[in-house]
């Protein structure tokens, strides 16, 4: 119903939308030019030609994108669905003029050098002043986008805003038990223990789940409370970079100590007994059943659970600053990554390469960026004091990011630079309060932005990484579950990793990293 009414609203306002800025300075071609596009994403399986955003872009630039998506699907599995359509497209033999997708980086970096996609370095320098200007300010991002041959093969989606996940806690439970907000890991442990033993939900049952997580790797993230490291980027179990050196969290002594402590927490019942199998409904179930005490999860979506205060008396779920480790460090390991492996590329059979790169550049102009972030002026937002402000009826029409997908903006299969202002306008007070808290403390640490391998490096990576990762995860879970003692097993574990080629893998990663970012 919501979708219907939204569509109706758009139709009703289309007539009024007279593009005030249609003075032609953004026009790329005199005669309308049609380019074909493949764009598959879990939330918008094909490129809709009647998206209002596409209509406006068409008017401004003269370039029409024609949907030519192969293998459209809506599976959200990060590991299969997202590149399945790309593989099908490639296997089919015909590559459209433009290919946009999530998880496109590894794909174009493998097949671009083989000739499937057009290298973009020269094109950007000559024809894309806005993109070039952006990269001039962010050489790290430019480096991250490049393939092993030094060429860029796609224009990325660049998220804005720094914060992703935070620590959350039932502050009303703290109050009920007369506890303070935990500032150190020891205090945090004491709070969780109190949650476990002092019946904060007051139902007389020992049913509280002090710490829970929708994704069990978030539990591993807690090793940062003991100066360990877990995930080096927004990809779980990823490598990390510290002072230009590639490493891996699961090799550190802080990780070892953290796991030992987490195993203790687990056996003491401070961690959800079903942490590994509870799955994505954990947060929804444990919060609405008044059972869950604390988690590590996204600002925007988690703050929304405060609506439960209408059902659970006094319910208040707030973000708190990362507790300090024994050595006094406070870090928040998770952050919004600077550059996503999502975006769009130019297929090798494109006959209008220059027009296409100009079109890509359009989305980095002020008008293009606003279009990509906020939709169409007059339809979805109005300019107030020089800032785009969403119309109230648009904010009321359901989840804003979904509404934006439905009009063709905020597409991660499009290369654009996100504007965090779009999200602030519909984030709730608890999220904003939490973000402010995290801003004060400056807890974030640099992300590993990934590397592009040469064919030989790729072979080493393919041969070793999967095996190593599986082994590390196996050990990790069994330590936490109490079968095996991490302190006793540690030396054997490290030796085993070395025999699986860990050092070789790190060397390869390092050389790729140096090539990409060092020079």
């Amino acid at each position: 119903m919501k979708k219907l009414s939204l569509t109706a609203a758009i139709l009703a306002t289309t007539a009024m939308a007279t593009p005030s800025f249609a003075d032609g300075h953004l026009r790329i071609v005199d005669e309308p030019l049609e380019l074909t596009i493949q764009m598959n994403h879990a939330r918008y399986p094909i490129y809709e030609e009647d998206w209002p955003v596409e209509q406006v872009a068409r008017e401004l630039t003269g370039i029409h994108l024609k949907n030519d998506t192969v293998g459209a699907n809506m599976r959200t599995d990060e590991n299969t669905g997202r590149t399945e359509a790309l593989n099908l497209m490639l296997a089919g033999g015909a590559i459209p003029d433009i290919v946009g997708s999530s998880r496109i980086r590894d794909f174009v970096n493998q097949y671009g050098p083989e000739g499937a996609f057009i290298p973009l370095n020269d094109l950007i320098a000559e024809h894309a002043p806005n993109i070039a200007a952006y990269y001039a300010t962010r050489p790290d991002i430019e480096a991250a986008v490049k393939a092993s041959d030094g060429q860029m093969y796609y224009i990325p989606y660049l998220p804005d805003g720094k914060y992703g996940r935070a620590y959350w806690i039932r502050t009303d439970w703290l109050d009920a038990l007369g506890l303070e907000m935990p500032e150190t890991v020891d205090e945090y442990e004491a709070v969780l223990r109190a949650f476990k033993t002092q019946d904060p939900n007051g139902n007389g049952l020992d049913d509280e789940v002090p710490f829970f997580a929708r994704q069990w790797p978030e539990l591993i993230r807690l090793v940062t409370l003991w100066d360990g490291r877990a995930h080096g980027s927004d990809t779980y179990h990823d490598f990390l970079v510290e002072d230009g050196k590639i490493g891996h969290g699961y090799l550190g002594e802080g990780y070892r100590d953290g796991i030992a402590n987490l195993a203790r927490w687990y056996s003491d019942g401070l961690i959800d007994a079903e942490i590994f199998t509870r799955g994505s409904s954990a947060r929804d179930f444990l919060l609405s059943e008044n059972l869950g005490g604390s988690t590590h999860d996204w600002f925007a979506s988690t703050s929304g659970y405060n609506r439960l205060s209408s059902e659970i008396d006094g319910f208040e779920f707030k973000a708190f600053a990362p507790p300090a480790s024994p050595s006094g460090r406070r870090i928040e390991e998770h952050r919004r990554i600077l550059v996503k492996p999502d975006g769009w590329a130019i297929g090798h059979t494109n006959e209008h390469v220059v027009e296409t790169i100009k079109y890509f550049d359009f989305w980095f102009t002020e008008e293009g960026r606003r279009l990509a972030n906020f939709g169409v002026e007059g339809q979805h937002y109005d300019m107030v004091d020089g800032k785009p402000i969403f119309k109230q009826e648009f904010l009321d029409a359901g989840p804003v990011n979904r509404s934006l997908y439905q009009v063709g903006s905020q597409l991660q299969g499009r290369g654009y630079f996100q504007d965090y202002n779009y999200e602030i306008q519909w984030s709730n007070e608890f999220a904003l309060e939490g973000i402010a808290l995290y801003d004060e403390g400056d807890y974030l640490i640099p992300d590993f932005l990934g590397v592009a391998f040469t064919a030989d490096e790729q072979k080493v990576y393919d041969r070793t990484w999967g095996t190593i990762r599986d082994f590390m995860l196996e050990r990790q879970q069994s330590w936490i579950l109490g079968s095996g003692d991490v302190m006793a097993d540690w030396d054997g574990y490290i030796a085993q990793l070395d025999s699986m080629g860990m050092q070789e893998l790190l060397e390869v990663m390092q050389s790729a990293y140096d090539r990409q970012y060092g020079g």
């Binding site: 593989n87 794909f107 493998q110 083989e114 199998t277 095996t467 082994f471 196996e474 879970q477 579950l481």
Partner: protein, 337 residues
């Protein structure tokens, strides 16, 4: 049982054969084509309906079985989707070397075989036993209801099945642990315990498929001549004796054929269910070839490696099915081919 000597309409078989061969001879006489080409054209003119009926099967085989075989060569190539099967360079047995130098792959092979063996030992007899039990239910409505109930899990998607299993075996509030609690057993986090994975997985498979699998055996039982049972009743056999001496021997050929087919699928552990149920903590017993391929090969686009592992799977299955078929033919005169 129809008398062998009474072929069509009470005419002895020999007569029918003689008549047919005479008819053929007559036809051969009346058609005397001057060349083999003419004879072929003539043959197609006469029998084209047969070929039309045959065509869908042949096309199906060509398109879905023989043509994909062409792609098997990527197991020996450094395959790139963009370059295509033909243009990717040969690398010989490199992928196989990668596979067999990987301890996790070897472990996955053994896990596959162990899970399949358990499946065979416990999962294969289950539908037969179920079918025999259904056969003993005399009350028609009760029988229908019971059958429907045990068929149902087959139609539930693996994702839901996995959800049910995870919930049932959950350490807090899972039905299994609640029941164990009544007997004073401490709650067990089953799905993270390597030693429990195989029993749970095989048990789930039986629960899901035994009912549906019993259909083929029920059909075989329905085909047993009822007078065999009547004769046995008069001879004094009880129901137990009838089951052992009549029902089971009568459906033995069906059982053997199903067994051979099953052995042919021994490397095909239903891997969606494994993926949904396993954890890194249970890789030790749960990781099978297909899940390993999925993690190592398909996740990182290594189709060539996946093809090599798949080829190895097929080879093992082929050897097993050949062996089973030969043994079955030798000892029970029943075989697939």
């Amino acid at each position: 049982m129809v008398d062998r000597n009474t072929g069509i309409g009470g005419t002895p078989v020999e007569e029918v054969v003689v008549e047919a061969s005479e008819a053929l001879r007559d036809r051969a006489k009346s058609y005397t084509p001057d060349s083999s080409w003419a004879r072929t054209v003539d043959h197609f003119k006469r029998e084209w309906q047969l070929y039309v009926m045959l065509a869908p099967t042949i096309i199906w085989f060509l398109v879905f079985l023989y043509k994909p075989m062409y792609g098997l060569q990527i197991a020996f190539k450094d395959y790139s989707i963009f370059r295509g099967v033909a243009n990717s360079p040969w690398v010989g047995l490199e992928h196989f070397q990668v596979l067999f130098s990987n301890d996790q792959f070897i472990r996955a092979v053994w896990n596959t075989i162990k899970i399949s063996a358990l499946n065979l030992i416990f999962g294969f007899p289950a539908p037969i036993i179920l079918a025999l039990m259904f056969n003993e239910i005399l009350h028609a409505t009760f029988k229908k209801t019971a059958q429907t109930i045990v068929y149902l899990p087959h139609f539930i998607s693996s994702v839901i099945i996995a959800g049910i299993v995870i919930t049932a075996f959950a350490p807090t509030g899972g039905i299994v642990n609640i029941i164990l609690g009544w007997f004073g057993v401490d709650s067990i986090y089953f799905l993270t315990r390597p030693e429990w994975f195989r029993p749970i997985f095989v048990g789930t498979g039986i629960w899901q498929e035994a009912g549906f699998g019993s259909i083929v055996f029920l059909a075989a039982i329905a085909g047993v001549n009822p007078s065999l049972y009547e004769s046995a009743v008069v001879d004094g056999a009880n129901r137990w004796q009838m089951m052992w001496k009549i029902t089971i021997p009568s459906i033995l050929p069906t059982i053997l054929i199903m067994l051979i087919i099953r052995i042919g699928n021994i490397m095909e552990v239903s891997f969606e269910l494994v993926i949904l149920l396993y954890q890194p903590a249970t890789y030790e017993t749960a990781d099978v070839v297909n899940t390993w391929i999925y993690r190592q090969g398909l996740q990182s686009g290594q189709y060539d490696l996946a093809a090599a592992a798949g080829l190895f799977n097929a080879l093992v299955a082929f050897v097993l099915v050949m062996t089973a078929n030969t043994l079955s033919r030798r000892y029970s005169q029943t075989s697939l081919w």
